[in-house]
Symmetry: C2
Subunit: 344 residues, 2 copies
């Protein structure tokens, strides 16, 4: 079973010195505000994700089930100034949820307090045990996977946007998280890059199980087939997801893999062809339905020119999900697969 | 650093009821006889790998450094009848080496005895810690990787054969093991399918590091790009190995992936094209130099016909390493890459 979190969440912002240190909390407040009952900030905290400031006691009154560590300072360790709050939350019975590199059990006293109160310590970087080997067996329901020309090109944001747009149209859709931030946003998922390689495809099968006809699982992609370090993760996720639809994500500011200037990003049409070829192993009728770009580096005219060139090269619609939204991609999805999952 | 074993080995055959339960020990005795100082059999043992029968005390006199559990009965657990011998070996200071699923530390008392004598408990299924992410940085030396149409098609045997043939020609060559049996045969390696997916390519880079010009690392392949459960392992190993040469391995008795009849094995020329395409990410000049088949299911005439058809389809030499040896493949390697690594 995938990791699953208990809502409502109290978002813990600690005493981080900059708003950018609270990106995870900001993402949760943006995408899943309905799951949040407040934010808890220590003296000196410079972040604010726009939720009511509450104490631990007030959060309990609001029904909080989890203290979510929504901050990621450099180094990935728990600051000494946070520990008493974390221990008090565990004493009160709140699950402690963390995506930090350091495991929660390393916080002195925390495991004992959680055990006494019945709270769970949830490290979302740790995959579930007993994952199966992938079988490729056909399953019902539709699946869309965001795939990338590189890491960190908007795969999570694009998937969240498509899931939200589908639901806004009254369709059955579930966002499926594959990384620690996505899991904290979604409240469930599997950190796919932490899974032993023999079980990556099987983990993706568990993450997006058979579902009702017309239902879409919108799966957060990881890595890139064109990254010499991470392509294994990408391929296992691709095979296990068994996607019907792909969306290629790309950062228009990049021509090479980040930090690896010897690795050129292929032309987007080539990227699409390679992803479709690989995905056909488990779904012979997979197709790419569009391109999602990060155009934040470009002015309006230059972006329009690049977008038109991509649409001409690939024959597919291209959007920047932040500038344009993703309605055009969902239109393409409907055109390709119909609207069978629409609410009556 | 990869796992590394200490020779000479005392091969432990326990009391297994059939020779087929001692395949690992038989493989070690066949491929690395020079590393073995004897076999240790308990009453009732029906296996015999052709080494002198010795006691623990006699093995110590012969310089034994490791007791290698060379047997793999169904279930993968240590039999109660073996435990006293294992404990006595640890007490005498021999490393205990196991490829069983059950970890050695679960044998009562073994860890304490090993700690007291300075012996190591080596589970070859457990990968080393602190593996890096792959970078794809170019490195010196040559590498050959055996790749497969499926699992269990002779990738390890073919790699061992090519390594031995190269060394017989006076060339610099090292077999690089990626699975537990290969590691026990080679005395070193990384169990690549047990590595967390983010680090598979990096593990392969560590396994086959930069080497002298003309030196060959002959790397044991894993899985198959065409297997819906294991392709991630295969791709990470392919990218990290950065091979100059590939040999495609195939079992002539199979037309579909084992146990997955819905998954057809593509034509061999297609398999080669897909492997070369994927491998080009980290080595633009990679080429496939031949095909190694398991023809044990075929008579002489039928094998000759199939082999000729494969050579016509692929334009490459085809051998069954067991029937034909691999000299033809090493000739092809020499023709493609020269004999710069030959001893003076």
């Amino acid at each position: 079973m995938p990791v699953a979190l208990r809502a409502p969440y109290l978002l813990f912002l600690g005493d981080v010195p900059a708003a950018s240190d609270a990106k995870t909390a900001a993402g949760i407040a943006h995408w899943r505000r309905e799951l949040c009952c407040g934010q808890l900030r220590l003296p000196g905290c410079q972040a604010d994700v726009g939720l009511p400031d509450v104490s631990l006691a007030q959060a309990r009154e609001r029904g909080a089930q989890s203290l979510v560590i929504g901050i990621a300072p450099v180094g990935g360790a728990f600051a000494p100034s946070w520990l008493e709050t974390m221990r008090e939350a565990a004493r009160l019975g709140l699950d402690i949820v963390s995506g930090m590199h350091a495991p929660l059990r390393e916080v002195p006293g925390l495991a004992e307090l959680a055990a006494a109160s019945g709270a769970r310590l949830v490290d979302v970087r740790v995959p579930p045990e007993h994952l199966p080997v992938g079988t490729g067996a056909k399953r019902s329901g539709h699946r869309l996977l965001t795939v990338g020309t590189d890491c960190a090109v908007g795969k999570k944001y694009t998937a969240l946007s498509i899931d939200r747009a589908l639901r806004a149209r009254g369709r059955d859709s579930t966002f499926r998280a594959t990384g620690q931030t996505g899991i904290m946003l979604a409240g469930a998922g599997i950190p796919i890059d932490a899974v032993v390689s023999d079980f990556v495809a099987g983990a993706a099968e568990v993450l997006s199980p058979a579902n009702a006809p017309g239902h879409w699982d919108v799966v957060e992609g990881q890595g890139s087939l064109f990254h010499p370090g991470f392509a294994a993760v990408t391929l296992g996720l691709l095979h296990g997801t068994q996607p019907d639809a792909l969306v290629l994500c790309h950062d228009l500011a990049r021509s090479t893999i980040e930090d690896l200037p010897d690795f050129s990003i292929p032309p987007l049409a080539t990227c699409i062809a390679r992803y479709v070829e690989a995905a056909r192993l488990t779904n012979a009728v997979v197709r790419c339905i569009g391109v999602a770009v990060n155009a934040s580096s470009l002015g309006t005219a230059e972006y329009a020119r690049r977008r038109a060139a991509i649409e001409a090269e690939t024959g597919l619609p291209c959007v920047d999900p932040i500038r344009d939204g993703v309605e055009v991609l969902v239109d393409a999805l409907d055109a390709a697969f119909g609207t069978a999952g629409a609410a009556a």
